[in-house]
Symmetry: C2
Amino acid sequence: MTKADWIAVDWGTSTLRAWAMGRDGTVLAEATSDQGMGGLPPGPDSFEAALLALVSPWLTRGAVTEVLACGMVGSRQGWVEAGYRRVPTAALAAEALTPARTHDPRLKVHVLSGISQHNPWDVMRGEETQIAGLLAAQPKFEGVVALPGTHTKWVQILDGEVFHFASFMTGELFALLSNHSVLRHSVDAKGFAKDSFIAAVEDTLSRPERVAAQIFGLRAEHLLKGEDPVIAASRLSGLLLGLELAGAKPYWLGQPIALVASGQHATCYSTALEVVGASFEVFNPDDCVLSGLRAARLHAHAPKGTT
Amino acid sequence: MTKADWIAVDWGTSTLRAWAMGRDGTVLAEATSDQGMGGLPPGPDSFEAALLALVSPWLTRGAVTEVLACGMVGSRQGWVEAGYRRVPTAALAAEALTPARTHDPRLKVHVLSGISQHNPWDVMRGEETQIAGLLAAQPKFEGVVALPGTHTKWVQILDGEVFHFASFMTGELFALLSNHSVLRHSVDAKGFAKDSFIAAVEDTLSRPERVAAQIFGLRAEHLLKGEDPVIAASRLSGLLLGLELAGAKPYWLGQPIALVASGQHATCYSTALEVVGASFEVFNPDDCVLSGLRAARLHAHAPKGTT
């Protein structure tokens, strides 16, 4: 039976992921459930129960196992509100760890804080841990980290700190339009039509102001000429990503980019970044979050005054 | 008891409206139900039943009452597919009337066709009747008709015909973002903060490419400083409308505009058009659709070869 030295947790809105970690930082086991923050009843007890349901096999009777958790679990509706540290700030710091109360004496839980920005207003929660992981592997990285997702982040790293960032609602807009709008019968995201995607990126990159008309055009094209829904979905994705790249230009223009993405996100963002001729390297999001949680564990155990 | 000489019907996705018309074109009675096309089971019988539920008191036993209907009732999922006429085309024409089959011998139903465009792809259905009504009242109108809605239309009128148009998904984006996105807890559309709206229109009018970041900023501002949801809703509306005006500039710049809108749509679009210094006049949508259906009735009864 796997017993964890400590447990790493990435707890988002829709998914809870946990890793049983060995003393040397290796992964001994991992588990995932759909008990994301969004589906849990409010209050700390439901979070403790959801965590125990996933990790209790890894706990040792009579011992305390430390848990380090990042993501929406630290939001106001989460297990404990872990607040935000304001830019410019390190991706990770000892003061970023907020203890969460537990009933089970085998658990000692800390939740990582997010990062905020006041001009313009912005927040991240979870991505700071991926950035910390990236910087743990590449301490001299200077440039921009792009983290595609529901609310994609573009993050300027300067002197090893999060200096400035911008969130774009691209992923959520794609989901809303694909699933809940008049387009829902015209798009099918089960495929990737690369040429159509690229043409659409170029459309909104050069004419971002036309995006709301271009999106309706997908519906009209389906009605009038029965356009293939896979092509329409790729074009929708491209239109929204071209719009984002137009807005994020100060971030990607002439800077080295670390693209933290896998799967379809990696495909779309890589393709789009090639369209604009940006130079980028792809990093795996799971590796980054795990490295970030490992770094957080070091912070948690560093002697006072050294972090 | 009101008996109709004929019946005018505006049948959209969410609402069915009917007017009992007198021989001289006056409105004798009106009725509304929530049996819009979107809520009806497929097939012509459900449309006939929904119509009869609303208008049967106006019918005369042993006589045939003519019904003229516009809107989504003419779509592929409607009562009968009334097709599209392609631009440039008159807002209304005798060939625009498609008969719908009925079981009740008291009914004789005609459905009006929509209008299509192939470059870029676009469609309208229902708005053409409002435009026909506007042109019936102002036969010499030359300029642009703006018809705010779920899919706002900007329509160039030339020589009394629909010459070119563009649809913007602004209304649907506002509804999706307000009701189904992460913003749903941060916005409350029960009010209108004019200054915030105007500032947001100016934001995306000058920097349309930032819209997806600006929208996420509303969420961040709510989290970090507890922004008033009424102000956030007005800003969301302004951001989307500024984006639309940036894209629709070829339509409103230097042209007389007929704004077919009432209520909140009229408030928002009037305010935004004042921001850009456009010259416009407001027309009531119900008056326009009724005038358009009256014009369609004249077409239906004109001697052949004269329309």
